[in-house]
Symmetry: none
Subunit: 191 residues, 4 copies
């Protein structure tokens, strides 16, 4: 049944792969239509603007990530192992979507306010999911007490992002994340 992909899915898949490798402004609707094997006008039957298309992808991808994290949670494991798995998944996600986190830091009017709020709420869920593991770790007395702070969640996300960018720059796909996890453990875990 996977054969019969809906037009909408074809567009989303095409656009996702394009936006993943190029900036918003460098992806043309022509490119999307071509890659999706669909007429340009068809794009506008499903998405009311380029921005809307972009936004939908962002939302979809982030939800996928959040679900992937939630799904990987294991109550019987210790917090550090959970966190490690989270970071690995986030790392993998960021590697194939290097532009998605960038947009979130912007004050740019690329996205309408209403849409931004939707995205923001998904991000909040993402952060809460991570945050809970920190809480769990502190309760376990394996994480430092200062880490049960939203700021730390943000910092972990941005550090992960930095690690990805280094990976991409140096074509060093594996070492940095391990080094990072090592460093992270000295930061987070009680000695």
């Amino acid at each position: 049944m996977r054969k019969k992909e809906s037009k909408k899915e074809m567009i989303l898949n095409a656009a996702t792969s394009l936006f993943a490798h190029k900036e918003f402004h460098l992806v043309g609707m022509d490119d999307v239509a071509k890659k999706a094997k669909v007429a340009k006008g068809t794009l506008y039957n499903y998405f009311k603007s380029k921005e809307d298309l972009y936004f939908s992808i962002l939302k979809t991808r982030l939800n996928t990530l959040v679900n992937s994290l939630k799904e990987s949670y294991n109550a019987n494991e210790n917090a550090w192992n959970n966190l490690k798995r989270y970071i690995e998944r986030i790392h993998k996600f960021m590697t194939s979507n290097p532009y998605f986190f960038m947009i979130l830091k912007k004050e740019e009017p690329i996205l309408e306010k209403k849409k931004k709020i939707e995205i923001k709420s998904t991000i909040d869920t993402l952060k809460e999911t991570i945050h809970k593991v920190f809480i769990k770790g502190v309760k376990e007395r394996t994480f430092r007490i200062e880490t049960a702070n939203e700021l730390v969640t943000d910092l972990v996300l941005s550090m992960t992002d930095t690690v990805i960018k280094r990976d991409l720059k140096y074509n060093d796909k594996t070492k940095a994340v391990e080094t990072f996890l090592g460093f992270l453990s000295t930061i987070i875990l009680v000695n």
Copy 2:
């Protein structure tokens, strides 16, 4: 005498403020000319392209930052105080140039290769400057030994960036940086 700003400075100031708030593609040369109170053609007397203008700003601003850090260095102080002052200055710089660090993470060909290399070398100087303080701290035996690692320099920069973005989002100009410095001290300093 500050009244008599050179045309080039007027353009740089106008463009800096525009690029600081909007992406490269969303800033038009018309906007720059208008803001600089200069004819469009004049822009091209000083900068050979939009990219060149952007690049010049990036370079100038980064040099300013690097010089500011170097100038604030005090050999008689301990490493942590030096680092704190660095971070404060970087924080201040990032606050008024929120987009400048973003571009550096992109793989996008907005900048020509040669220009990118120039920028990269300035960034490298910036990182070395910070890195030296970590070395100093490790020598002093006040910084953890693991911190004498380039990755840590990168992480500190990106964490600082994240803190700025939070500040901007929550209009909470002072607390985050203090909290951050507190957290940073638990990460970096030997207990």
Copy 3:
């Protein structure tokens, strides 16, 4: 049914008439669009650049001319009558396309090398077509033997061009060509 001209034809007709009266640099794409009653963007759906538009016209028109000559050839007639008819057609063509022969003499890089080669090959066909009549005339022993020379073909073309320019200058549409044909007969035919 001539009412329903295709967009491409509308553009070609508009551009032809503009390029026929003004130099390449003095014809704007705005002018073409306006005259063709088409949006400027539409021009670029059919021609990838101004140069391409210009080139297409040149090619099309020259092919029309060459076909017109070939079609007018009559193996049963003597060479001089064939040549006269050729010159009349060339004359007519040049009258309505006074700028097209000018471009061919330029060394200017208005046209890309590859495109120039295409045009040149059409011109070569044109010259060969004329040249053959000279060969035929020499075989018939009605043309002087020296005329079976490529240079003469060129000279005849340029003389025809000169005649057109005089016609246009003096608004004397018929006499010059007749006088010219008379003179040409004394040049070409054996006495």
Copy 4:
């Protein structure tokens, strides 16, 4: 005394050499100023526009040519030798000014009407000068009677032009003009 060239002469010399190798639209006033080692504004002290500069050169150069022809005239020689020398000089002139004759055929509004009339009068002098040699040749009974016609003068000029263009195209600086003179003698001279 040749050392102290006037500013005006410097400009004229620079512009002449530039217009000789490139089309009107492809020569910039910047280029002229640079080549003349003069500030751009200075150009406008001597010539009220780019067109005026171009026009002045055209006039000057044509006068030089006409004077050169007149000066080379020798009443004691036969017409054919005079004509040959004329053509050699015209050929040489055209070779170093390949664009100057092109402009004369145009209906282009590059030149104002008044200016065009001035140029035209110089051209008329040029043609008369040549025409007189044809008259002389006919009187001598060495030239065909039909050649004492203004059209023939025009044709000779355009043929010469064609020969230059071939020379330039094939880098065959000497043969074409000799072949041409040979052919011309069969056209013009009584058998």
